[in-house]
Symmetry: none
Subunit: 315 residues, 4 copies
């Protein structure tokens, strides 16, 4: 286990250490090698148990509003265009339709989205050894987001690291370790279990709201690669964060997004990036309960590498 | 009540009869005149009760895959573009990211979507008397889809009209009456109640799958306007269909989309168009149960008139 | 169900029986765990229906005059001070302003008031698991009376227990059971429903008027804790009484105010104590109708644990 | 009629003009000379009709939060004191009560309150010729707020003057004329009628929120005395404003609060000062309807010259 050292001294991983960690996680997640990856841990019995987590009937979004203005972390924002009336409107009756269209990148650094298992190409393959050639200009013929077309429904658990450390947010460059995750479990009196949808809050959204956006591609708080050992032990089905999940700069020699590689490629985890937990966290605090029913419903974009999403927590 | 007449002779409504129906529904749905419309009927107690509908933990999509090929009912299909690698990828490490972007109209005649309350402009106002001027080229400043940003979570009920009539689908131009809805309740031994998410199957998707797409703008099966009296009596919170919900040609003199006007503008109902129930219906049949937990999670598109959606049923 | 036994032998609850009752009510009222508690049951549709309860346009207060003289049940009465003229009055014009100020405890044993959800601290938390630390010398930072700042408007129902039993009032120490409440419903031909504002008359005010005040802290008529099962079954939004709602001495081993703990802490019910129904009851009798529109408008006291109120019934 | 002249040149009234206006209004309001003043215009039939104004079941406060910090318009703010546990708490059971007390002036320049008819002493009498000697250090023995102990329930009408003029608020010193009121009626398509509760918005609260508080005793927007002719014509039952109703400086030679004198003393109108309409106005705008059921429930303070209030509008 890596112990927390703070922004000053994040433990660096050499290329060899990263390789060893990759192989260790790959072996421990062998059960998740199928085309739905770790989603296979979500059995009907677990969905039924997750529904029993609903105690008050409160619902809350885990997404931020889609942003249409450019910013340092959003050079190509989503475009929203009103398309006025629809052909054949019966204007005589005083009836018109307000219509619109929109266009967006799936994997931007501002909008809440889910990464499909085909998102990461590493050493010539996708997760589970699927050839990289399965991804073409026409789209992904394997491991696309369609793997989640029936929704991802399960028990969500929020681990709040700024709460654990008594700070409003983790500063960019800081990282979350496996020890942080177990300490948050103790502080919140919750235990992450097999098939859970794990959400780790670093406070990225709160800092962005209070301090304004910055070039997140250069500096971000996130998980240290070694923290994924905790996820492998617990066999979580999904990982989501209010940042990108990966820190910037990278803590690993020669690998820009080690958490993406380990989580998606080795462990078969669908990743959710840039969610927001500022609405959820106060509800959990008030109910002293950090587990809930969670429903993630990606759009059925064909052959897509991911989708914008609006995960809903039901407490 | 209008009795079923079949495609041969759907009862026509004169402009005066439509006006009287509009005023009657407006008065009966006055409680839903707020900016969330009929969603106000979904109390925490009802969300909690809906979670108790989960019996087997099976989840299923109510959306069809987004279509990217043009067709007679989809002249401007969604565009999906692979955007290759991300700037600054560490190719030395053999790491690449499969990325993509997409663009789509919200209110097409092929893709599953939800209509916000601002979608319908009728006689110079939106639902609840909001001035039409609130919808500009910049977007909708009132009654946008953001009203549902915390998701629409409640008890879903599927009423299957082709099942009731013993046919594979309703033929284009045919319509569903209030009597059909009450007869389906009896046949399925379910009763629609206040705050339910009501889904009415006409078989549009199945016919399209077996016969191929056609110019749905000209001829479609849907609800007869008078059927909305059933929805007003039961105070449902949402209406969804596998077609457009409105029939084509219109059954009302001088009004092209009478169900859209009555449901959205008078009753404050969010409408879901072009869903698909071909995965859900067999599950309901097998469990002899047509009610379930349902979660609708629109994207948080700013100032938008609706959103593509992937509603999830949990049985 | 506990059957009525009269002052002679009220059924005692052991600490374990109380704990079991607490847990049962907590589970059944889980939908009311939010920061507005059971007020969430009052939907716009119910407010609209409540307005339809007005038949004659008669209005009547459910409050007693604020008392400024000390008494056995009012050792620290409200203070009312005339403050004479205002600075800068134009006396030349013969214009003066009669001014005053007043000071009062919110939770006295004589004045009509409403208890906010933060009023009860039990085992270290407030309602819904909110930490007791949210109540400080500066006020309540959560669950304050501001939760009702838009007023509590709904259908009021008066259940008159002395009327049921054919007595002028219940003697101090006597208690009202769930069976009494259902029997009163039958006798008055009214049925308490979800979202109702329930008022239970024990005759405390009438006895006080005829016999004079006594040390109510020692002996009072009120509800037996088990009667709250009736309220949980019916999902009422508010409970009000002409006494303290709790009996004295307590019917529960080691818990002084079991009804306050169960109603406020477990069920999220705002409680109204020391109302008066001596004006309302004769109007209900004359109209043979015990349901009415009721409006409760607490003062917007910041961070307060309650407020003096003057609930108005409109028949 | 006085036509609007703007802050630059408000028409001044000489002492003689004021006297003539006083006598004219006194004569026209002779019907309101009783101890309930103009409240007599609120008949049960009008209360019943007012209840029919409820269309959507929305409720909203017309009060501002009570302020406990001193400011230029609030030198003696309300005091709120937490009073900790109640005597005899059973701490053994882990049960405590959060308690508090408060003290406030009724007629401050910051808190929403109602003026009783005894508030104004003019030329040795109160409204209706009641001797001023009825007001003593002990309180008011006539025309106290107890006149409204059963609540003031009727049809509320909001006339929004800044909306009429297309400005966010009227600047301090500006005044509202009878022409403004009739023009607002036309613009809002509503007509003030006998027995209505009339609320006139000048934007005082919005300016205070956006610009910060100021010494309102020196400069305030309000009604021009001549505007009361409109109220006499329509026989309104109550007048409320988001400011003090009177302008400052006074528009009348030698009379500091001419509107208070004319409305309370001559016309028998209960006045509500320093309400807030910032929550109500947008609801009216959205529903295109400026009339509603309104309930004002003063505390039953004995012999008091007024009361803090939280008027509730039900739309």
């Amino acid at each position: 286990m890596v112990t927390h050292a703070g922004p000053a001294g994040p433990p660096r991983l050499t290329r060899d250490e990263f390789g060893a960690l990759y192989r260790s996680l790959l072996a421990r997640a062998a059960w998740a090698a199928g085309d739905r990856g770790a989603l296979d841990a979500i059995t009907p019995a677990r969905v039924l148990a997750a529904a029993r987590e609903v105690r008050t009937g409160r619902t809350v979004t885990l997404a931020a509003p889609v942003e249409t203005l450019p910013g340092p972390d959003n050079p190509e924002p989503a475009r929203h265009r009103m398309s006025g009336q629809r052909e054949g409107d019966d204007t005589a009756s005083g009836l018109h339709f307000a219509m619109d269209s929109f266009a967006m990148n799936v994997h931007g650094d501002a909008d809440s989205h889910i990464d499909a298992l085909c998102h990461v190409i590493y050493d010539g393959t996708l997760h589970g050894g699927v050839p990289a050639s399965s991804v073409t200009a026409g789209g992904a013929t394997a491991l696309s987001i369609e793997a989640a077309h029936n929704g991802i429904v399960g028990r969500g658990v929020l681990l709040d690291i700024p709460r654990l450390r008594g700070v409003p947010w983790l500063e960019p460059g800081d990282h979350v370790t496996a020890d942080d995750l177990t300490a948050a479990e103790t502080a919140q009196q919750v235990r992450v279990a097999e098939g859970d949808l794990l959400f780790v809050r670093v406070g990225h959204r709160r800092r962005r709201a209070e301090r304004g956006a910055w070039h997140a591609a250069s500096t971000r708080a996130g998980l240290h690669p070694s923290a994924l050992e905790f996820l492998a032990d617990r066999r979580v089905a999904v990982l989501g964060g209010d940042g990108n999940n990966d820190t910037a700069p990278s803590s690993t020699e020669g690998v820009d997004f080690p958490v993406h590689v380990l989580a998606i490629h080795a462990m078969g985890l669908h990743l959710l990036d840039y969610l927001q937990f500022e609405d959820l966290a106060p509800l959990c605090e008030a109910q002293r309960r950090w587990s809930f029913l969670c429903v993630i419903a990606p759009l059925r974009l064909p052959d897509a590498t991911g989708s914008p999403v609006n995960p809903i927590a039901v407490l």
